[in-house]
Symmetry: C2
Subunit: 143 residues, 2 copies
Amino acid sequence: MKPSFEDLKQELKIKNINLSHQRLKVIEFLTQNRCHPTVDQIFTNLQKDIPTLSKTTVYNTLRTLVASGLVRVITIEDKETRYDIVTENHGHFKCESCGTIFDFPIGIDSMIPGVLSKFVINDKNVYLNGVCPRCLSNLNENK
Amino acid sequence: MKPSFEDLKQELKIKNINLSHQRLKVIEFLTQNRCHPTVDQIFTNLQKDIPTLSKTTVYNTLRTLVASGLVRVITIEDKETRYDIVTENHGHFKCESCGTIFDFPIGIDSMIPGVLSKFVINDKNVYLNGVCPRCLSNLNENK
DNA sequence: ATAATAGTTGTAATAATTATAAGTTTGTAT
DNA sequence: ATACAAACTTATAATTATTACAACTATTAT
């Protein structure tokens, strides 16, 4: 279930995190743009609404949201940290050709082996890399 | 099956990659230290053997080895890229307390859902974060 | 042996992120 | 409403990881 903007505002209140203008805008952006944006993408887009916005604020806000568990960090690729509103168990596929990141459903829990039974697991990520169907067909056309 | 140093030398020859002194040392280090080292750890350790070693060379070598498929990049944590000799399907668990990265066996293929049937998958990673048993028991002792 | 190619090195440049300190905003108690 | 304290934001500077580059060295094939 994808959490709505209102759900998230509620969550923040419960966790005692101030609902500043900038924070709300970051959350709003993440709920409306489920494309796993980078800090830079978030910053550039929000700047249109908030001309005085500082990139440090975007970093600070994301750190707060990640610590509170509302947002997750996606490090599918070296050298580009991305952010995602936390939703159900799902994995990420990154197309090496067009760069798009696709979500896909996956039940990770069932495959965690017994050797880890004494480990406390706080976060689970499944990352795949490859080429998406769209790029595959484009490659074929250009043959 | 963990590839030996000799196996890897053979692989390089087959792939037509020069067996320079520095490259061999990097591979040797990775086979003997399966702790998923960072560039900095590799560099610092090899410097003892090769005083003239440059960090650029470590970066270059790792790029070459990753491109050839002999080494994989581990981006389990933001801001610290790690490297691993490619072995069988396995996942990585990082302890948030002591920082150790543990390998664990996992069969990812069986859980990739049908929606991805038209995607070409080149690389698969499962990353878990949490606390390892050793750190858990230390935390309990200090109560 | 020699030329051509590939690899290495040190330095400089770039890019992402964090630290810091001053200025603003917000919430609370009066 | 007002004033105070705490929290948040901002801009700049500092730090860190990585890449670009050009000169130098080693290696390979003829």
